[in-house]
């Protein structure tokens, strides 16, 4: 028979396993319909004014941490923000980071293996067309990207037109 300490230990393992399992289920469910929550006003206004407020779930926590560490040199631009906004956004991104996404050394979502796989049918001409311009411009095809909705129902790839 299990003594009290052993039982507590066992309970702890079961709870941890259950939590991880549920978290993975949530991740999978989100990935299945391609809708991810983007629900932080500071994040949306500070980061979303220059690019789509990318859903936190699209990158791992370590990658978000690296991005938030170097905002003054943010993919070639100065994206520095106030200290309190910085801390708040960092916490938000880490909390919502994708658990099964893995980290991206270049810090670019478009360099992630899953991103490349999902977009392997998109030609270079489409990426360069004036309607798209950059893989950062999610909204050019994913019409509801601002709401974190990347479902195929709201997907419309513009006609190819090289700039």
């Amino acid at each position: 028979m299990l003594d009290d300490r052993r039982r507590k230990w066992f309970d702890g393992i079961v709870w941890t396993a259950a939590t991880v399992y549920i978290a993975m289920l949530v991740d999978t469910a989100q990935a299945a319909d391609h809708r991810y929550p983007v629900d932080n006003a500071t994040y949306q206004s500070e980061c979303g004014s220059c690019h789509v407020a990318y859903p936190p779930a699209l990158l791992g926590a370590g990658t978000w941490r690296e991005i938030m560490r170097g905002l003054d040199r943010h993919f070639g631009t100065d994206a520095s923000i106030g200290e309190s906004a910085q801390a708040q956004i960092k916490a938000y991104l880490e909390a919502g980071a994708g658990r099964s996404r893995g980290e991206v050394p270049t810090l670019r979502i478009s360099d992630a293996a899953w991103f490349r796989k999902e977009h392997d049918g998109i030609t270079a001409a489409t990426w360069k067309s004036s309607a798209v311009g950059s893989p950062a411009n999610c909204g050019a095809c994913h019409r509801q990207a601002d709401r974190g909705d990347f479902d195929e129902r709201s997907l419309r790839v513009p006609a190819k037109e090289v700039r």
């Binding site: 220059c50 631009t77 520095s80 923000i81 950062a136 411009n137």
Partner: protein, 136 residues
């Protein structure tokens, strides 16, 4: 009946303030004072100088107009990400230039990108004079 004039007046003032959001006066005063300190002969901000500055490159690939277009009354587009940008002139977008912290935040970011350095108080004042001079 109680006298309610102060309340009504306050509401009216608030409404007037909201309708015509202006560049914070103390911010403009501080820019003006700093510009005077930098150059003894400084004779006030100039919308014309601001317009020319807005359109020109300053040793980098970008000018202000690269993203905000030559017409700040219209919307623009981020040169790298393709994200649409709301109009910059207050006449077209009353929120613009109404909050000191936001003005300074964007000057810090965008001056680094376009000029490779911080903007001077005179440059800031000139471009604000230009943007606020634009009418629909």
């Amino acid at each position: 009946m109680r006298f309610r004039m102060p309340g009504a007046l306050a509401a009216l003032l608030l409404l007037a303030g909201a309708a015509a959001a202006e560049v914070p006066a103390d911010y403009l005063r501080s820019l003006d004072a700093a510009a005077h300190e930098n150059a003894a002969g400084f004779a006030g901000f100039s919308a014309a100088r601001g317009a020319a500055w807005f359109a020109s490159r300053h040793g980098t690939d970008w000018s202000c107009a690269t993203c905000h277009t030559d017409n700040p009354l219209a919307g623009g587009r981020h040169a790298t990400t393709g994200r649409s940008i709301a109009p910059l002139a207050p006449a077209a977008n009353p929120e613009r230039l109404s909050d000191t912290a936001k003005i300074e935040k964007w000057f810090k970011r965008n001056c680094t990108d376009v000029l490779g350095r911080a903007c001077t108080p005179a440059e800031k004042g000139d471009v604000i004079a230009y943007l606020t001079s634009l009418k629909r």
